[in-house]
Amino acid sequence: MAIVPGMTKLTAPYWDAARDGRLVVQECRSCGRLTHPPLPACPDCHSTELGWREVSGHGTVYTYTVVRHPTHFAFADRVPYVIALVELAEGPRLISGITGIAPDEVRVGMPVRVVFREVADGVTLPYFEPAP
């Protein structure tokens, strides 16, 4: 059993791209601003000409927490796990998880890169692992 994102017209392209193994961020076609999570209009220039830009998938751990006490039964057998706010090389930050490293070894500022994990049938979540 997994907890999976409900999708809206606004958010579905993000998850569709993840299922295809691509990390994308909403991009304003008018001024170039990158925004995550996506918004119905560009908060800078108010354009509604918005698209999606594939990003490098590289970033750093902006902050993180090691969860040792689950707050939902779906995570009861997954503790300890790491929640991280990852700052992408392109600027936007996104909530994700850190994999491929012991939770105790995660540090703020650590370089990471995206990996894709299928958590349910047809649902893939971007995660991050230490970058070599």
Binding site: P5, P37, V66, G109
Partner: protein, 403 residues
Amino acid sequence: MTRRPVIRNTAAIVGIGQTAYAKALEPTAWELAVDAILSACADAGVDVADVDGMCRFTAPFETVSEAMLVRALGIRELAFFAQAPHGGEALGAVVAHAAAAVSAGLANIVVVYRALSQSKGGRFGRADRGGPGGAAAEGAGDIVVPEQDNLSFAWPYGLMSPGQLFALWARRYAAVHHLTEEDLTRTLGTIAITQRQYANNNPAAMMRDRKLDWETYAGARMISEPLRLFDLCLENDGACAFVVTSAEVARTLRGDPVYVLAATQTLAPYREPMGIYVPGELLELFPSAAADRLFEQAGVTRKDIDVAEFYDATSYMPLRSLESYGFAADGQGWRYVLEQGTGPDSPLPVNTHGGHLSEAYLHGMNGIVEAVRQLRGTASNQVAGAAVALVGAPAGSATILAR
């Protein structure tokens, strides 16, 4: 833009009431709300039937509607009612709405209340108990999180509770300001232990009889690192309420009304409570203009504040609030806590009732009730001569009260 101080000294709190606070109480939230409101009206010396205004937090935070209370309390008619969203950020808003309403003559006697039954309803620390952070039904298959307020980008990764969010903030704070693990533990622990000591002397506090020493604090299990068990607020049942009226009416009711000097709201882009996608440094919880506006409207300075009740879902929040409201320089709050502390003999006693960590969790509203006691001179941990008090939420929604 300069704003005319419409509230300053034109509205006052004339009655406070609260129920018992406990992990589980027999009464429902509705019954608890009725109890607290009747106590507050009795304390104010007003007939509850004369109440003509009510302010509350929006559902799903506040589950008891003003309509339920109008029926239950035999109130003839409400001429004014208002609800404030965003959880703890409603803390200053409900006071602002009540004070503005009596100042503008929209209502005469306004009740502000908060009732919680976490034993029977949603729990803030459990995302699978229908809490206000959103609910995902238990089923045989996968759980789909409807998109609302970015939850669909957070829940799949197990980011589901306020405690986890504040752990992210606390970790960032330590990294930016170069705190060692020991620095961070000692800072958060000082806040938690100081508040426990206040609670040990507060007969109404849930933790009245439970001492907390350093060994127990540091040895407690990690919930969401770097936050330990005692860094997180209590979950409980209980209710509290207070009565707001105009300054003129207040003076006819009692000799010691507590005046509202300022009550403010703030909402900046992506700085809603739990907002994690701030464009700048994550630690900037609210624009400094919000705190400046609060003091400007109140007509007082930081130096005038005798006691502060800071919203403390976690021990990190009073630390950061000391900085955000301007009592310590940015990044120096932790040194301030270690060197000056927040206890009875510190420059600014903080959370003198024990706060959410050790009195009870009432979404900040018990902090207002405590501030009123302090200004009346009737608090268990009375700050000598307290004349001006600040009650503040972490993102800048706040109230300044004065006797």
